[in-house]
């Protein structure tokens, strides 16, 4: 991949926080941390939260395979139908497929998302997973932790801690999803 050195910002006043190379380093480090914490990778399943969490889970799975030869399960979990704030949306969020391991009892589910903010998405994802079965444990990997938690939730793997003001926004762009080079941006209202 030849990343454009100056990708177009997603908002006029957005500043670049992570470029392609920095995201690559974050993902490789997280992949190594997952390998370290999960000696039996055949029992690990990386489950992305749509939409960019799914791409990130796919990338982490590929890196783990590259580093160890193991091929953990890679899937996704819909959170739209498990959120408690449908009434706060103007347009209903998309409901996505859910792909989880058939048998979860002995599995470590590693939830993957691009940005950790209030923690409500993670809660919805855990609720959704528990309606399918009872995994042995759930871990949580995010590319950016921007703070402002509204629930007692913490990530096990963090690409970058990025303190933000509440009304600032983080935009994550993945080439495979957004057709612009991998990049993370912050914008003010």
């Amino acid at each position: 991949m030849n990343p454009d050195p100056n990708p177009t910002p997603p908002a006029p006043n957005a500043t670049l926080i992570l470029d392609h190379a920095a995201i690559d380093r974050c993902l490789k480090r997280i992949a190594h941390e997952i390998i370290e914490r999960n000696p039996d990778l055949s029992k690990a399943a990386l489950i992305g939260i749509p939409s960019r969490g799914v791409e990130m889970a796919r990338r982490l799975t590929a890196l783990i395979t590259e580093f160890t030869g193991a091929a953990p399960f890679s899937g996704m979990v819909d959170v739209a139908m498990h959120r408690d704030d449908l009434h706060r949306h103007r347009i209903p969020p998309r409901v996505e497929r859910t792909e989880l391991p058939h048998e979860m009892r002995d599995k470590t589910i590693i939830l993957v998302d691009d940005v950790l903010f209030s923690g409500r998405t993670c809660r919805a994802a855990m609720d959704s997973i528990s309606s399918f079965g009872r995994p042995a444990r759930i871990q949580y990997a995010v590319l950016v932790d921007r703070g402002h938690r509204e629930l007692p939730i913490r990530a096990d793997y963090v690409g970058k801690n990025m303190p933000t003001a509440f009304d600032e926004r983080i935009h994550v762009r993945f080439e495979a999803v957004d057709h612009i080079p991998d990049s993370v941006w912050m914008s003010r209202p």
Partner: protein, 328 residues
């Protein structure tokens, strides 16, 4: 990802993939008023909801705390139960009101009944009514979401949606397919909604039945009309057989049920004319031996029970989308 930013729904520039459904209607009163994209959005949402039915826990909290009222002024069992189960699976609370038990029999107007339901904070009203336009009438007057569960001979939108969903699921596409709708078209809201949905999604539609029940007038909708079933079957990808409503004494429209079967029933012999992969559909309840041969109804080509299963997923999608769009 949209969720952490849900309080501020402004979308950053150039996201090629939508994070929302694009659905902006609080009501579903007809297929005619929908765009092809809106129909596709419902079908997409339905395919995600279909998986809820095979989970260990067949319930999601999307509509927790919402109240749905099934206001069925005209009798129905399958549509009402399908909406009821869809609401249960979405964690909504459900109240059923049928004509016999409601104050409508005491002379209360439909609007007053509905206003009373709204005063009790009903969020969604599913209305089945014998008058065309009844659900549109309520939708314009209530803040609650109004879903048309069948209004007279006008439309039955969720039936058409589950029919196209089933075709899409089995055939992988709608555009370019040839769908024959057979039987009592004149009085059929199912036929009208199906015609709108199929044409918007690019299918070709032929209506087949006795002259009295399938007037040429329908050609104005953009469909073909014929009274010769045998000429249509070899080219049809889907045959949708509508129920002959013999309990309504349609004697004036055809001489006898056996004559209807002789000309328009899907018999074993006629089924030989069908393409091997043609789908046989029926909105139910079926009259075995009248519209369709009993064995054919149970054959591998029949997707009649798939339609029932998919109806649940489609209604979950409709409830989710309409209830989620009330906040504009």
């Amino acid at each position: 990802m949209i969720s952490p930013m849900s309080a501020t729904p402004s979308i950053p520039a150039s996201p090629p993939q939508r994070a929302d459904t694009g659905w902006t209607h609080k009501d579903l009163t007809s297929i005619e008023a929908l765009t092809a994209d809106e129909i596709k959005s419902i079908l997409d949402t339905a395919s995600a909801f279909k998986t809820v039915g095979v989970r260990e826990v067949k319930k999601v909290p999307a509509l927790r705390g919402k109240t749905l009222v099934n206001l069925f002024v005209e009798p129905s069992t399958r549509t009402r139960i399908s909406f009821e189960l869809a609401a249960f699976r979405l964690s909504a609370d459900v109240v059923n009101i049928s004509a016999a038990t409601s104050s409508l029999t005491k002379g209360e107007t439909l609007k007053d009944t509905a206003k009373n339901l709204e005063a009790l904070h009903a969020d969604i009203i599913v209305l089945r009514h014998s008058s065309a336009g009844a659900s549109q009438f309520l939708a314009e007057r209530l803040d609650a979401s109004v879903i048309n569960g069948g209004d007279g001979a006008h439309e039955h939108p969720t039936q058409a949606l589950l029919d196209v969903y089933t075709i899409l699921e089995k055939k992988g596409r709608i555009a370019g397919l040839h769908v024959a709708i057979i039987g009592d078209i004149l009085f059929s809201r199912v036929a009208r909604s199906n015609i709108h949905a199929l044409l918007k999604l690019g299918a070709r539609v032929t209506l087949v039945g006795p002259r009295t029940l399938v007037p040429r007038e329908f050609e104005k909708m953009g469909v073909a009309v014929t009274h010769d079933l045998d000429s249509v079957l070899p080219d049809a990808d889907v045959v949708n057989l509508l129920r002959i409503q013999h309990e309504r004494q349609r004697k004036e429209y055809f001489p006898s049920l056996s004559e209807y079967t002789a000309f328009f029933g899907l018999t074993q012999q006629r089924a030989e004319l069908l393409k091997p992969d043609a789908l046989i559909m029926h909105p139910g309840p079926i009259n075995r031996g009248i519209e369709i041969d009993s064995d054919l109804a149970d054959s591998a080509r029949s997707v009649i029970l798939d339609q029932v299963t998919n109806g649940l997923a489609v209604r979950m999608a409709v409830l989710y989308l309409c209830a989620g769009s009330r906040n504009g």
